[in-house]
Amino acid sequence: MLFNSLDFFLFLLIVFSLYWFVVYKKINLQNLLILAASYVFYGWWDWRFLSLIALSTLMDYLVGFRIYQSKNVSIKKRWLWVSILFNISLLGFFKYFNFFIDSWVDLFNSFGYQMRNTWTLKVILPVGISFYTFQTLSYSIDIYKAKLKPTKDFIAFAAFVSFFPQLVAGPIERATNLLPQFLNKRTFTYRGFSYGLKLIIWGFFLKLVVADRAAIYVNAVYNNVENHDGLSFIAATVLFAFQIYGDFAGYSLIAIGTSKLFGFDLMTNFRRPYFAASVSEFWTRWHISLSTWFRDYVYIPLGGNRTKKLRWLFNMFITFLISGLWHGANWTFVVWGALNGIYLILEVQLFRKKRKGLINILLTFLLINFAWIFFRANSIEQALYIIKMIFTSPGRLYIGSGDDIAASLYATLSIAILLLVEIKKEYFNAIFSISQNKFEFIRFVGYAVLIYLILYLGVFGESQFIYFQF
């Protein structure tokens, strides 16, 4: 079920009403309702994949106990590996099986061995598998690290794994943050309700007005590269930077806001990332739940920065390489991850002080955009072609044809609104605020106008969110 569909609105209304008006007295019943609702939400796409979530839930629930109860560290470790291997295998099979087979075949063929590819399977990628496998993994790892005790409440645990607001595209929650919330009573407050709705409204603005508008131009250029020149690729890449931000940050805000309506607090996932003055700062602002996941479960276990410098740089690079692969089974994502790793290594080598100022913000934006080319391109060859065209053949700027022209203008207008809001939040937050204004009338009018703008400028085609594919 898509957030940007009327199905979801009806679903949310029903679940919200049952949650607070029918089963509100018993926390177990509330959790059961969330579990059932989450399975309906997920099954709306493809009910067959519910078995995967159920299996992953059961496995980590049982393994969590084994890890906790084992006295012997090596046995604890063994059970941890069971969880890791199970979840990674699940991810590996559904997401990467064909990618690795194809890559092996291509490798052999490139050495002159003619190999026929007969092993690839027709595997459909289950929506959100990368998110919930990471979430369940964090549960087992945190128990192993003695940060968390396993819960006996299976319903609460299953609801934590499948919690519908963040099930398919995050934020990837840690068991240490979210699971206790399932075990404690939630209370309804006007403050939480109102804050949740505000986040949802701004999330929809980011998705329907910013991301989906930009997507029209981006797709027109990136899906038809042979007919475009360097200037168009620059424009499309910059627009893609806002498309993916609006799409993903929009989803996260809707997820966080929806959770608020049910009395849950999810972690912040984006903090105005394009105001970062360095790539390392960018990664503290972009997809925070994933970058901290990789920091805690990959980078630090590898030794982090408490090791020799060369090893430290290697740890950074390998973490970003894996992060790239996590995003998709395509070499474009691997290169994107590697590029970010290289940026960080260069920053460590070249700059000692924390960077600040507009020049550094623009430079960071430029570097991030360069990496986005690989992220958005359909293949490595296409990305290289685009880069070549940017540097050698600026040509003319495609402004769209027919309705596309209007789409480009709408995208520009919506990004201008977004930037104004973010500049205000980043630098002048204390001056004036609509969302926190002491006058209720101003707050209400501000959000009424925002909804108006969504309905007036938004794209209403029930488009998918980009991160569903990851």
Binding site: Y190, S194, N224, F444, I451, Y452
Partner: protein, 319 residues
């Protein structure tokens, strides 16, 4: 305590909804004013066709209608006023909706529908582009409801909001306010010539359909015919000239349209592969569209055909 919070939330939510509805009404009314005050551009043309035209010959169809039918030629040859209601990229459901709205107010003598061979094939964009009709919903809900309902079952709910009715129209209004788009009774001529040797690989053809019949489009065509017939208006189906030789004998959509036209006794004038036009690069803007010279010539031939078939009572031109 919780009850108090619920009560507070409900009261605040109700207040917010009232403020939003007022904002929607006020800003929506302004948006509608902007929309209906456009002087040029596609919305200005459709608004004129719906609200003002009393022309005796009306032309419907996609870009082939919009770019090929020169009202002045029909007016001169047939002595009847003519308006081109053709709209780029639009398909049968849109044309049927436009016809229903126009016929609510006026009764022309002849309606020409320019047939695209793929009109009946499944096409998502054909549904998406029906959003061009949203601004007219408040005044024509009876005519538009069943057609827009094919796209979304909750159309009444969505159209309750004025902001949604005018979604995605403001840039268009600003654009054509700053740079007016000239048309001649709905016709916009194309200039330039198709290359003498056309490299088809250079042509970017975006296929906007799947080769399966969409029953809604079949119903749309039948509805178009019955709407005109019920008002006693003559109908004519025409296919436009093509630059290259085309073979639509196995095109299921095209054959179905011909079959329906035959059953309903609708005259059908076929200019596909017409020798007067085929491979005459000086008459074409691109391989699919005539330039102004081609359009003038095509309309002259078509006017003669209309006269020969006595489809309208032609009188000496006063134009």
């Amino acid at each position: 305590m919780i009850k108090k919070e619920f009560k507070l939330s409900l009261i605040k939510l109700a207040k917010f909804v009232v403020i939003f509805l007022i904002a929607d009404l006020v800003l929506g009314t302004i948006s509608k004013q902007i929309f209906f005050n456009q002087k040029t551009g596609k919305y200005a043309r459709s608004t004129y066709a719906i609200k003002d035209t009393d022309s005796k010959i009306l032309i419907f169809g996609s870009s082939h209608a919009h770019r090929h039918y020169v009202p002045k030629v029909f007016e001169k040859e047939l002595g009847k006023t003519c308006y081109n209601v053709g709209a780029e990229g639009q398909q049968l459901l849109y044309h049927t909706a436009m016809l229903k709205m126009i016929l609510k107010r006026t009764k022309p003598d002849l309606i020409i529908l320019n047939i695209d061979e793929n009109f009946l094939y499944k096409s998502k964009v054909a549904y998406d582009r029906l959003s061009d009709l949203h601004p007219y919903y408040s005044d024509y809900d009876e005519e538009l409801g069943p057609i827009l309902g094919l796209k979304s079952k909750l159309i009444d709910f969505k159209m309750f909001f004025k902001s949604y009715q005018t979604n995605s129209t403001v840039i268009h209004a600003i654009k054509y306010y700053l740079s007016p788009q000239i048309d001649y009774n709905g016709y916009r001529p194309l200039s330039g010539q198709v290359k003498s040797v056309v490299d088809e690989s250079e042509e970017i053809l975006i296929k906007e359909y799947v080769e399966e019949i969409d029953e809604n489009f079949v119903m749309g065509l039948k509805n178009f015919i019955s709407t005109a017939k019920n008002k006693g208006i003559s109908l004519l189906f025409v296919t436009s000239p093509t630059f290259s030789e085309v073979d639509h004998s196995n095109n299921i959509s095209y054959n179905k349209i011909k079959e329906i036209a035959g059953k309903e006794n609708i005259p059908f004038v076929n200019f596909f592969n017409a020798t007067q036009f085929k491979y005459k690069h000086e008459l074409f803007h691109d391989t699919s569209h005539l330039n102004n010279d081609g359009a003038q010539l095509f309309c002259k031939y078509l006017a003669d055909e209309i006269k020969n078939r006595n489809l309208v009572e032609s009188k000496k031109s006063e134009y």
